[in-house]
C-alpha cells in the first residue's frame, strides 16, 4: 500500500523519543487517524462505478463482518470454485425480504477467499433511488443490474454477482422458502456467453429465515412505490426492533463453474441455448440448496 509510505505532518513533529518499537495500539490509532484525515481531505480514489475500496475495507466491510461472524455465523463451502483472478459470474438464490444475502456473499469472498476478491453485485434500480443506500451500494462496489454494466465489469476482469430471481426471490413469502423462482429471461446467461466467462452457482441457506415474510400489504407497498411491504412476526408489530434479523445459521456453497467458452459467441442471441443454460444453472442451485438443507442441523444452529 502506498498510503503506508506517506507521513502526515503533524504539529510539533519531532523525532520519535520512544526507544522500543511503537505499541500496537499506537500504530492502530495512527493508522485510524491517517484514514480519517484522508477521508476529510478527499485523498482517495474511486473507480468509474463509484467503488471506493478504502471506505469499503475500513468501514463498510467491518460493519457487515460483525453480522457475518457473530450473528449469522456464516459457513462458506466450495470457495475453491471461485477463480483467483479473472472474470466470473456468481449466480445465487435470493431471499430474506431485505437483501442481506448479497452483503454476506460479499463479506465471505472478501474475507475468506484466497485472493480476497471483491464481489461486484448487480442490484435492482430501486436501490439506486433510495437516498444513502444509493451511494453506499456504489461505494461498496455494486452497480445497477443492466446488461451494459455487467458486460463492462466482466470486461474489466471483475467477479460479478447476480440474483436472477430479483424481487420475486427476495420478497417471496416464507411458505415458499428455498423454492427457486423464475430466473427471468436468462439475461445473465446471455451476458456470460457474450463475455465467455464461467458461471459459478451459489446456494445460500439461512437467509430465508432472517425476516420470515408471512403477509404482504400491497396497498401500502404501492403507496411508497415498493415492490412489497412485508409483515413478519416482529415487523411492524415491534416497530424498529422488528428490523433486527433473526439469528439464523447460514451456509453458503459455491458449485463447480459452468463453462461458457465451449459455446459460440452468437449463441448468446439464441434463445434456446440461453434458456436451456438458464434452466441448468437454476436446477444446479436448487439441488445444492436441498443438499445444504439436509446438512443443516436446525434453523438457528
Amino acid at each position: 500500500m502506498d498510503h503506508e509510505a506517506e507521513v502526515i505532518p503533524l504539529h510539533g513533529d519531532t523525532p520519535e523519543r520512544h526507544t522500543g518499537p511503537p505499541g500496537e495500539l499506537e500504530q492502530k490509532v495512527a493508522s485510524a487517524l491517517r484514514f480519517v484525515r484522508r477521508r476529510l481531505s478527499g485523498d482517495y480514489q474511486v473507480d468509474e462505478f463509484g467503488f471506493d475500496p478504502e471506505l469499503n475495507d475500513r468501514l463498510l466491510m467491518p460493519l457487515a463482518r460483525q453480522l457475518y461472524e457473530r450473528w449469522f455465523r456464516v459457513e462458506m463451502l466450495g470457495l475453491e470454485n471461485v477463480p483467483d483472478e479473472g472474470p466470473a459470474l456468481v449466480v445465487g438464490n435470493h431471499s430474506g425480504t431485505l437483501p442481506l444475502d448479497g452483503v454476506m456473499l460479499q463479506v465471505g469472498l472478501h474475507d475468506h477467499h484466497r485472493a480476497k476478491r471483491n464481489l461486484r453485485l448487480l442490484g435492482a434500480d430501486l436501490v439506486y433511488q433510495i437516498p444513502v443506500l444509493a451511494h453506499l451500494a456504489r461505494k461498496s462496489g455494486h452497480t445497477l443490474a443492466c446488461q451494459a454494466d455487467a458486460a463492462r465489469l466482466l470486461g474489466k476482469r471483475e467477479l460479478v454477482g447476480v440474483f436472477p430471481e430479483g424481487f420475486k426471490g427476495v420478497g417471496k413469502p416464507y411458505s415458499q422458502r428455498y423454492k427457486l423462482q423464475r430466473f427471468g429471461r436468462g439475461g445473465f446467461v446471455a451476458t456470460a456467453l457474450r463475455a465467455q466467462v464461467p458461471i459459478i452457482p451459489a446456494a445460500i441457506v439461512g437467509a430465508e429465515e432472517i425476516y420470515p415474510k408471512i403477509a404482504d400489504l400491497r396497498s401500502i407497498a404501492r403507496l411508497f412505490g415498493l415492490p412489497y411491504f412485508p409483515i413478519t412476526p416482529t415487523w411492524p408489530m415491534f416497530g424498529p426492533l422488528g428490523l433486527v434479523p433473526l439469528p439464523s445459521k447460514w451456509i453458503v456453497a459455491f458449485g463447480e463453474p459452468i463453462m461458457t467458452d465451449e459455446y459460440d459467441l452468437d449463441q448468446a442471441d439464441d434463445h434456446t441455448t440461453v434458456l436451456n443454460l438458464t434452466d441448468q444453472v437454476r436446477e444446479t442451485i436448487q439441488n445444492m440448496l436441498y443438499d445444504l438443507l439436509r446438512r443443516r442441523a436446525s434453523i438457528f444452529f
Binding site: H11, G12, L33, V36, S41, E48, P131, V132, H135, R138
Partner: protein, 352 residues
C-alpha cells in the same frame, strides 16, 4: 451516424485554402478556439460570429456581428466561401429568459445548418454538444458510450436543446453525406478561466448537496476542450464523440478536496436554494438539469475519442477540478487544518 462519406479517401488534412467560421466567438470557449485556429498555418481565414462584440481582441480572427437566428448567416458563409463551421453556440448558462436561450440554441442551429446545406464550399462541420444529452437518472447504466440511448431523456433546458441540435445535425449529415460532421458531447467544463453554472455552484459560501446522494462526476479541462475542438477542425474525425477527463470524482470528494463547507439538504430544498440564488445571488443558470446531475451524476466512456485522436486529455477529471479549485482560490482546507491541530494536540498529550 455519419459514417459513410464518399470523400473519405481524401481524409487527412484537407486542402490548403481554408476558411473557418466559429459561432459563439465572443464567449470563452469560442474565443479560445478562434485563438487556437488562427495559429494554424493551413487556415487562411478565421471568421468569428456572435450577437455581442468580443471582450478582448481576437487577433487575426475577423469578427462579424450577426445573429445566427437570421438568414444573414447564410450570406456570410456563401460570400466568404466558408468550408469549415465550428458551432460552439450552445448556451448552457441561461443569462436571459429561457425562451431566448432555446431560440438561440435551436432556431440558431437550424438557420446555420440550412446555410451549411446550401453552400457548395462547405466541407466540414464541428458541433459542440453536451454529455447532458444522456440525461441523469437512478436507472442509468454506470457508463454511457456514444451508442447508448438515454434512459430518461432530458425534458427541459439546454440538455433538451442539445438533443434537438444533435437531431438537426444528423439530418444535415444525411442530406449532405459529403460533409465531415463531428459532434462532441463534452462533460462539464472546469478550469482556471471557467465561469459557468457549475463553477458558481462550487463558489457558494456553503455548498448545498442533495441529502443521501453522492454523484459520480466528470470534468473536462478548458485546455483539453480547446485542443479537441482544434483537432476536430484541422483534421478529419467524423462521428459522435464523448469528451471528458479520465476517471471520476465524487461530489463529496471534490468538495472535501477543495475544503468547501458542505450542507446536505433534501432535493427540493436544494432546488429552492438554487432558485433563490439564481434570482438574487450569483448562481446564474442553476437549473433542474444541474440538480439532477448533482443527484445522480453521469459517467461517459471516452474510448472512442482517445482512439480516434490517439491522444488523451492532459487533465484527468480530478486534475481539472484541482486546477480549477487552486486557480480560483477555492480551497482553504479548513477541516483538514482543524483535524491536524486536534490530532497534533492528541499526539502531544500522548508523548508527555
Amino acid at each position: 451516424m455519419p459514417s459513410t462519406r464518399p470523400s473519405a479517401s481524401a481524409a487527412g488534412v484537407s486542402g490548403s485554402s481554408r476558411v473557418v467560421l466559429i459561432t459563439g466567438v465572443s464567449r470563452f470557449l469560442g474565443a479560445r478556439v478562434a485563438e487556437a485556429l488562427q495559429a494554424e498555418p493551413s487556415i487562411e481565414r478565421v471568421i468569428g460570429v456572435d450577437t455581442v462584440p468580443p471582450e478582448a481582441s481576437l487577433g487575426r480572427t475577423e469578427f462579424v456581428r450577426v445573429d445566427i437566428r437570421t438568414p444573414s448567416i447564410a450570406k456570410i458563409i456563401e460570400s466568404a466561401r466558408v468550408d469549415t463551421v465550428v458551432h460552439l453556440n450552445l448556451v448552457t448558462m441561461a443569462a436571459t429568459a429561457r425562451m431566448t436561450t432555446k431560440e438561440v440554441n435551436v432556431i440558431g442551429t437550424m438557420q446555420l445548418l440550412a446555410a451549411c446545406q446550401r453552400s457548395a464550399a462547405m466541407r466540414k462541420l464541428v458541433v459542440r454538444s453536451s454529455a447532458a444529452v444522456y440525461g441523469s437518472s437512478a436507472r442509468d447504466p454506470a457508463v454511457f458510450t456514444e451508442h447508448d440511448e438515454p434512459v430518461v431523456p432530458p425534458t427541459s433546458g439546454y440538455a433538451k436543446d442539445a438533443v434537438e441540435v444533435e437531431g438537426y445535425v444528423r439530418g444535415l449529415a444525411r442530406r449532405r453525406s459529403d460533409l465531415t460532421v463531428s459532434v462532441l458531447r463534452f462533460a462539464n467544463f472546469l478550469g482556471p478561466n471557467i465561469d459557468n453554472p457549475l463553477s458558481r455552484y462550487f463558489h457558494m459560501p456553503v455548498v448545498a448537496t442533495v441529502l443521501g446522494f453522492d454523484p459520480r462526476l466528470q470534468f473536462i479541462h478548458e485546455d483539453d476542450g480547446v485542443e479537441i475542438l482544434r483537432r476536430m477542425a484541422v483534421e478529419d474525425h467524423p462521428g459522435c464523440f464523448n469528451a471528458a477527463g479520465d476517471g471520476v470524482v465524487l461530489l463529496s470528494q471534490a468538495l472535501r478536496r477543495a475544503g468547501r463547507p458542505i450542507l446536505p439538504l433534501p432535493a427540493p430544498a436544494v432546488q429552492t436554494l438554487g432558485d433563490v440564488g439564481r434570482r438574487f445571488g450569483g448562481l446564474k443558470g442553476f437549473s433542474p438539469e444541474l440538480l439532477r446531475w448533482l443527484t445522480y451524476g453521469r459517467v461517459i466512456d471516452t474510448t472512442r475519442l482517445t482512439n480516434e485522436l490517439s491522444w488523451r486529455p492532459k487533465y484527468s477529471s480530478e486534475e481539472a477540478f484541482a486546477d480549477f479549485a487552486d486557480s480560483q482560490g477555492l480551497g482553504h482546507g479548513l477541516p483538514t487544518e482543524i483535524f491536524d491541530l486536534v490530532t497534533g494536540g492528541v499526539r502531544g498529550l500522548s508523548r508527555r
